[in-house]
């Protein structure tokens, strides 16, 4: 059985707190999280894939289709990550990126 002493507890909570701080700061998260890595698809897409559509890159508006539902969110971090994955040469204004 693992023994939890005060030092290990502080170390654990310190790491957790640090992670939470990074996650709440998009700039820090972007700096720390690895960027997208292009890869070969491992298989076919699911029969009913979840699909995200960036409606308004400037407003960080994204629509997610899943099953027969459709919901729209504002998510700066997610939109920026998808834009990054879409590639530097992609023309991004208001026409949206899927």
């Amino acid at each position: 059985m693992t023994t939890i002493n005060r030092l290990s507890f502080l170390k654990a909570t310190g790491v957790a707190a640090g992670t939470a701080a990074i996650a709440s700061s998009p700039a820090l998260a972007a700096a720390v999280e690895p960027g997208p890595v292009e890869t070969e698809p491992s298989g076919p897409v699911a029969k009913e894939p979840i699909i995200a559509v960036i409606r308004d890159p400037a407003g960080f508006e994204i629509t997610v289709l899943s099953g027969t539902t459709e919901k729209t969110y504002t998510d700066k971090l997610l939109v920026n990550r998808l834009l990054k994955a879409a590639g530097r040469n992609h023309t991004v204004k208001r026409q949206g990126v899927a």
Partner: protein, 475 residues
Amino acid sequence: VSSHREAPEIAQDPVADNADVFAFVSPDKPGTVTIISNFVPLQGPAGGPNFYSFGDDVLYSIYIDNDGDAQPEIEYQFSFSTSIRNPNTFLYNTGPITSIDSANWNNRQFYSVTRIDAGPAKGSPGQGGPAWGRGPQHSTVLGKNLACPPCNIGPASTPNYDTVLGPAAVHSLTTGESVFCGQRADPFYVDLGAVFDLADLRPFRNLHLVGKTLFSDPAPGVNGTNNLNIHTIAIQVPITNLTAKGSSSGVLGIWSGASRRKVRLLGDRKNGHAESGPWVQVSRLGNPLFNEVIVPLGQKDEWNAGNPVDDSEYLPHVQHPELAGLLPVLYPGVFPNLDALNKSGAARADLAAILLTGIPSGIIPGFQNFTGSTNADMLRLNVGIPPSSSPNILGVVGGDLAGFPNGRRVFDDIVAIELRAIAGVTYSLIKPSFTPDAAAGQLTDGLTPASVSTPYLNVFPYVGVPYDGWDHPSM
């Protein structure tokens, strides 16, 4: 045509193209209503090896409004699934198809029928088609794995089609409905060649602006849909299953639609494409010729995606139809009273009643199919009017209250009825001082049900046996 290829987008998507809707009190079972919705129009009977079918990726819906709010209280959904016995042959059939479960039939299609009802779940929670608002719905699966008949290929492949294969595809459900889904002869008749050649109707070609320079005498019409097939969805339902509170009387608003998933990813799956998102309506139909003749080209696709409850947008096109303005121009001197009516700027309240609200009581003795003031394109069927023992193909205009626009029967002469109405025949109903032009009451494209080569049936599904490819190799 009635609504065959009537809008730019749906003309490119025949599998989802809603071509006709019919609704009538069943003549042989007057305690029931039959609703028919046709898709995949203008099929050449010899169109093999991949003969026509419904779309496995299309949701087909029949909507019923029974309280006059132009929104559905009931929906019947039809979903299809194709099954291939042997993927290693190119053949539709590997021998004669002598029964609906024949082992020689390689490319079969099956379907399910689900009824959606408004209100909190009594059974399973359900999700209605795009015409529903946000209120709760619940669903009941009425039938599963129901077989469609094969397409009518020819006497070697599909012998005894009329006596064996067609009747075998009529399914009686335990909840009281009968259903049929499959290929039929197109029941609609229209002289397409004349209508779209500047409305140069052959019986009046010698009076037409251009036609009179080419022809000196009238000619009979030519049925442009003759010898062509279509895919029929037909359901026969006890009247009390459709009316509000199970009444044996009342007026039903009826329309149908076809929907596709919002997103489709092509070419990324070996056995089909991937789809996601809500159902989006791509085709709808209530009254025949509404989208085809009333709605202008720039709004037709939007109309297909919309719902009857929002149709007030199209009211100006009904009150001042483009065709009414064209008739006096195309037939100089033939429609002077219509011309004066057009120039007066008077709104065509008669057409608005026929197409958008129903006809109130007090206009036609013994008849009304009014559903309220909401302008909505729906077929309106007063189920309290019994079937006619001697039907008139001109329906209410011909004194037969059981015909269009009281619902619509498969043999009703829609082209003549609507031409005459637009030409002013029905305007005198709401303004008795108006005298329709003599020619208005004679307008026709020169066709009758006899212009359809295969006879209508006297029993469900009422639409005739499809033309076979062997005997109809070209149109």
